[in-house]
């Protein structure tokens, strides 16, 4: 939204960010409503409100549906219909396609489900401009392609948790070597999507330089994960480093995009 070539009224910009945040919260609430049984089986998630017994399932369902409807209605009335439509698609995609359909059925769950997390870039741009352009589509592709190495790095060292819960994450179904190879393979198109806006003339040198540097570090960490043969989860240092860096990576790239836009 801040990187768009037009300015949006600060109150409407705040409202758009609030709606995206509430929509994401609603999708998360509905995810936890549907997966309460599964969350109870994993150490990482067993203290969430539903498995820990701090909230009943019906309240979580009502809260999730109510918050989702409110966020979409507010986006449509205050910002524009395109942003509201993409927000609706992203919530439904996360809840129905990822949570209900894919997560328990295929190890490709987070690949396709990653699209849900990639929608906010499109929504922000649509909120500011009322349309969709090449740059937000590339940002969508960046987050979409970043998701597999990000989550598979995590799943490598919490594999036993996913196995205990019966979630068919790639390390559980296909093994550590295949997962490491996939982390490496997905890093290649992700790197192209990250750097592409610069040579395409959609951003300036600030974003280009930061994206190139941080993508090189990301790729270096992905290579270390790719060549590792470690099987002891407690000793998987490259995997932990890649997961931690991947969070910083997106934050820095999107920050650089905003700085680049205002420096032009």
């Amino acid at each position: 939204m801040l990187a768009a070539p037009v300015t949006i009224h600060p109150v409407l910009g705040f409202t758009a960010i609030l709606c995206i945040t509430l929509g994401a919260g609603a999708a998360g609430a509905l995810n936890q409503w549907y997966e309460a049984d599964l969350d109870a089986c994993m150490k990482r998630t067993r203290n969430r409100p539903l498995p820990a017994g701090r909230m009943d399932r019906q309240s979580a369902l009502h809260f999730g549906v109510g918050l989702a409807c409110f966020s979409v209605l507010l986006m449509g009335l205050a910002v524009n219909l395109l942003a509201a439509a993409i927000l609706t698609v992203s919530i439904l995609f996360y809840v129905l396609v990822y949570t209900v359909w894919l997560k328990r059925r295929t190890p490709q769950n987070i690949v396709i489900g990653g699209a849900a997390g990639a929608f906010p870039a499109l929504i922000g741009w649509a909120a500011a401009t009322g349309q969709v352009a090449t740059l937000p589509v590339l940002l969508f592709a960046l987050v979409f392609l970043w998701t597999p190495p990000h989550f598979w790095a995590l799943s490598l060292y919490v594999k036993t948790d996913y196995a205990a819960a019966g979630v068919p994450m790639l390390p559980v179904v296909a093994g550590l070597t295949v997962t490491r190879t996939q982390v490496l393979l997905y890093t290649v198109p992700m790197a192209i999507a990250a750097v592409a806006p610069w040579p395409m003339g959609l951003t300036g040198a600030i974003y280009g330089g930061v994206a190139t540097l941080f993508t090189a570090i990301f790729a270096g960490l992905a290579v270390r994960v790719g060549v590792s043969r470690e099987t002891d989860q407690a000793a998987m240092k490259p995997e932990r480093q890649l997961f931690a860096f991947s969070i910083l990576y997106l934050f820095v790239l999107f920050g650089a995009l905003v700085v680049d836009r205002f420096a032009q």
């Binding site: 109150v11 409407l12 409202t15 609030l18 205050a78």
Partner: protein, 48 residues
């Protein structure tokens, strides 16, 4: 005469219940106030 089977709260439990109700009421009030300010801001921004 039907006996009153409603469980009685101890004074400490009653005080804790009131404290929770009060904090929830304050949180709800702040949310509604923030929402009213937001809607006012949106109305002003749309009129510009």
């Amino acid at each position: 005469v039907t006996p009153d089977l409603t469980p009685r709260l101890t004074p400490a439990e009653e005080a804790e219940l009131r404290r929770r109700q009060k904090s929830r009421s304050i949180a709800m009030g702040l949310c509604l106030g923030a929402l009213a300010i937001l809607f006012f801001g949106i109305s002003m921004a749309k009129m510009l």
